[in-house]
Amino acid sequence: MTGLIDERIGLRHGAGGRAMRALIERVFLDGAVDGAVDGAVDGAGDGRVGLAAMDDGAAIPIGDRWLVITTDSHVVQPIFFPGGDIGRLAVAGTVNDLAMMGATDVLALTCAVVLEEGFPRADLERIQASMRDACREAGATVVAGDTKVMGRGELDGIVLNTSGVALTDRVIPDCGLRPQDLIVVTGSIGDHGLAIMAARHGLALEGDLRSDVAPLNDLVRRALAAADGAVVAMKDPTRGGLASTLHEMAAKSGVGIVLDETQVPLTPEVRAAGELLGIDPLHVANEGKAVLGVRPAAAAAVLAALRAHPLGQRAAIVGRAVAERPGSVILDTGFGRRLLSEPDGEPMPRIC
């Protein structure tokens, strides 16, 4: 598509949407070492989930189990926001990517930090404490790291990269939906993105607009245990929000998705902030929520397991996969239906 591949990288190439995917396909996948082309299975022939799948992580078979590995860099601005900070985000983000592949027992995390000269040590300690707390919640440990410092002005404050590894018996891809499967979200939508937006613009809202950033591996563990094999697709709706995530799942699975807008849980603060700022909560990032594709017969059990957990109390069935219009997401507003457009990534830069 014209305009997506340019000579110079633009902000939209990091937004998590079409431009970014086009960049990855053109620059990183073209001639990738493992020979991966499209789809989940690559040239190595062992069924691994590789770079081409662009799933939340990669999965490599080891014996009769899978090693899942993922990496993420974090550039969120501001680094301290209501509900969390870049440290909590760095741990939760990676733990969640592993969990979205079905790997809920984290073997280990690494953490590399690049700091700008002049970065306050007190802030770094605060971030470190936050990371420790998040690790404790997730039952994970940072086992290796790296520290670099760049000159004043050569970097904006701090960049954190985390990688994670875990073992699992079953990999849950983001492409496993079949018609009639139900779409479940684990809680309220739009919290992180709108909290960041409000913080950036100094919007003082009544009530509590906080990021939902949290490690989800325990929640996911409960959901997977509730009904064997019932969860067939999983993804966390980060950049580009629920709208992007559903588009990706629909396209990769070859199904359409009908989303019932009246069932999507929204906090009153998110609804209000979205209305006022003209931002659709369906398009903004979440950092403590998951989207699950569930076989219809087991949906009640999975929902009950989610709701019994502190992080899943507002879990809800919000839609279902259909055979028609593969790759499209149809929104039922309560008044009528319309197509939910695929956002070209996250409307706000440096959201995570």
Binding site: L203, A204, G207, R271, A272, A273, E275, L276, G278
Partner: protein, 94 residues
């Protein structure tokens, strides 16, 4: 998209009002609105100017008005009662 958004007036200082839009407070100018505006009123804001004071009772009347549209002429008298109840319930809400 901030065209024609209604908000509740929190404070008035001459031609400037502080207006609450769903929990967010913004400054709005009163140069153009044609009635005196006091704290507690609702106003319709357009590009930073209040263009109309919205009396709270008008909201209820509008909802009741929409109810009456649902009645087909050949409907039974029972339906008229139901609509009356709905309209009355609308007026009670504050």
């Amino acid at each position: 998209m901030c065209l024609g958004v209604p908000g509740r007036v929190v404070e008035v200082d001459g031609l400037l009002a502080i207006v609450d839009f769903w929990g967010v407070r913004r400054q709005v100018r009163l140069d153009v609105v044609d009635e005196p505006v006091v704290a507690g009123d609702y106003v319709l804001n357009h590009v930073g100017f209040a263009i109309r004071r919205i009396p709270a009772e008008d909201v209820e009347q509008t909802l009741a008005l929409y109810e009456t549209l649902l009645a087909a002429p050949e409907e039974d008298p029972m339906a008229a009662d139901v609509h009356g109840e709905l309209a009355a319930a609308g007026r009670k809400r504050t």
